[in-house]
Structures are given as structure tokens and as C-alpha cells.
């Protein structure tokens, strides 16, 4: 796998995890949001942590779309589940949360799953022939008219 593809998958994992964490921390500053007070959501968007979280999640989505343009869904999803391991280890070593033996087993299972899928091909379907067609230039026909 090329460095570009590896970096895109890493982007899915890193931006997704960091975005979730930022959003979670940012939203903790606000009261519980219910139907009656939903306009708080607009205030929340301007909270720096929430804004950073949303930006990171946009970057995550861009990487996710990009990875699905050259890899199977059944490759991208298990491969990027490394994020669950990363989050658990971050919680363990930075937030000093305890990881129960059962959660360690979970980490091991995810790592095994990622290992399984990573050893296989990333794409098993033929890309659509339309994907290679040139993009029609709307200004070209105007020039001829």
C-alpha cells in the first residue's frame, strides 16, 4: 500500500478520534439539550472545543470519502477500527483511566481483526468505467455555439 493511502487511512483514524474527543469535551460545558432548549446548539457551535471538534470531523469525513474511492467498505471499516484501540490507550496513559481485563480482550480482538483485513487486498471490485471518463467541460460547448 502506498504512503498516500496509508496516510488517508491514518487520517480517518486520527481525525475521527480527536474530533470525537473535542466534541465530547466541548459539549460537557453545556446543559443537557432537549427539544425545549435546542437553540443552545447554535451557541455550542461557537465554543472553541466544539468548533475544533467539528473541523476535525470534517477532515475525518474527507479522508473517509477519499479512502472509499480506492478501497472496499469491508476493508476501510475494520482497518480504521484501530481508532477504538487508540482511544482506549489514550484514556489509559493520558487520563490514567483503568482498563479492565475484558476491555484488554476487546483491544486484542480488534487488533486481530485489523490484522486479518490488512493482510488482504484493499479493493476486490472493478472500479466503475464511468470513473475514468473525462469530466465534460460546460464552457467547451458554449464556445462552439
Amino acid at each position: 500500500m502506498s504512503l498516500r493511502k496509508l496516510a488517508t487511512l491514518a487520517g480517518v483514524v486520527i481525525f475521527g478520534s480527536l474530533g470525537d474527543v473535542c466534541l465530547k469535551h466541548g459539549m460537557a460545558a453545556f446543559p443537557e439539550i432537549r427539544l425545549a432548549n435546542w437553540p443552545i446548539l447554535f451557541h455550542a457551535i461557537f465554543n472553541p472545543k466544539v468548533a475544533l471538534g467539528i473541523s476535525l470531523l470534517i477532515a475525518f469525513f474527507a479522508c473517509y470519502l477519499s479512502s472509499l474511492s480506492w478501497a472496499d467498505l469491508t476493508y476501510v471499516l475494520p482497518a480504521t477500527s484501530v481508532g477504538y484501540i487508540g482511544m482506549a490507550l489514550l484514556a489509559r496513559f493520558f487520563l490514567h483511566e483503568q482498563i479492565s481485563p475484558l476491555r484488554w480482550v476487546g483491544i486484542l480482538l480488534i487488533a486481530l481483526g485489523v490484522g486479518f483485513v490488512a493482510r488482504g487486498p484493499s479493493l476486490t471490485v472493478e472500479p466503475s468505467p464511468a470513473a475514468n471518463l473525462p469530466i465534460p467541460d460546460p464552457t467547451a460547448s458554449r464556445g462552439e455555439a
Binding site: 498516500r4 432537549r34 473517509y64 470519502l65 477519499s66 472509499l68 474511492s69 480506492w70 472496499d72 467498505l73 469491508t74 476493508y75 476501510v76 471499516l77 475494520p78 477500527s81 477504538y84 484501540i85 482506549a88 475484558l102 476491555r103 480482550v105 476487546g106 483491544i107 486484542l108 480482538l109 480488534i110 487488533a111 486481530l112 481483526g113 485489523v114 486479518f116 483485513v117 493482510r119 488482504g120 476486490t124 471490485v125 472500479p127 466503475s128 464511468a130 470513473a131 475514468n132 473525462p134 469530466i135
Partner: protein, 126 residues
Amino acid sequence: MRHLYTWAAILCVVAASTAGDVLIAHAMKKVGDVAHVFRDHGVFGVTRRMLTNGGLWLGVFFMALAFFSLMFALSWAEVSLVAPAAASLTFLTNAIAAKFFLHEKVDRRRWMAALLVACGVVLIAG
């Protein structure tokens, strides 16, 4: 009865999330490798191809639906059940949907990966 509602909510999240993922994966295969499209047609070429793809919009709509169903479910159901159950089941339903709708070759290796990750997510997030 409350248990039934919780599982109905989980199934809604899983169904919407799977539909979103499959539609987006299908749309992006039609767009083509974005790095190649970018090289040949520039950033406007990539943007135009993506924005004019109806499947992508529909996929994003289902993703949003999954997100809001999850938020809704989390507001009244047990977080420690809903979040891991939905995340974990989505790995399995995506493998099934990818096989039938996207015609991906989901071999034993990929089934094992989906199953192991699904079990792992339950243990890690539960």
C-alpha cells in the same frame, strides 16, 4: 416494553448507518480514485464530480439520520447498551450489505475481521 423500544432504536441506527455507508461507498467508486481525478481535473473536477453525485447526497442524508437517531436513542435509552450495540452490529450489517449491494468479495478473512472487530467493540465500549 422499554427494552423493545431500545432495540428498535438500535436497529434504526444500524439500518440508517449501513444504508449511508453503502450509498457513500458506491458513490465514491463512481467518482473514482480522488487522487487520480484531482491529478487529471484539478480540485474543481473532484468537487464537481462529488457534488453532482446524487447517491453521495443520499448517503450523507442517511448518515445524518443515523447520527440523529443515535442522539435521540441515547437521550432515553441506556448509553452502555445503545452505543456499543449499534457500533458493533454496523460492522456485521455492512459486511452483509457490501457483499450483496456492492458485490465486494467478502471472503473468510473479511468475515473474520468484521466479526472480531464487532466483538472487540462490544467489549471495549461496553
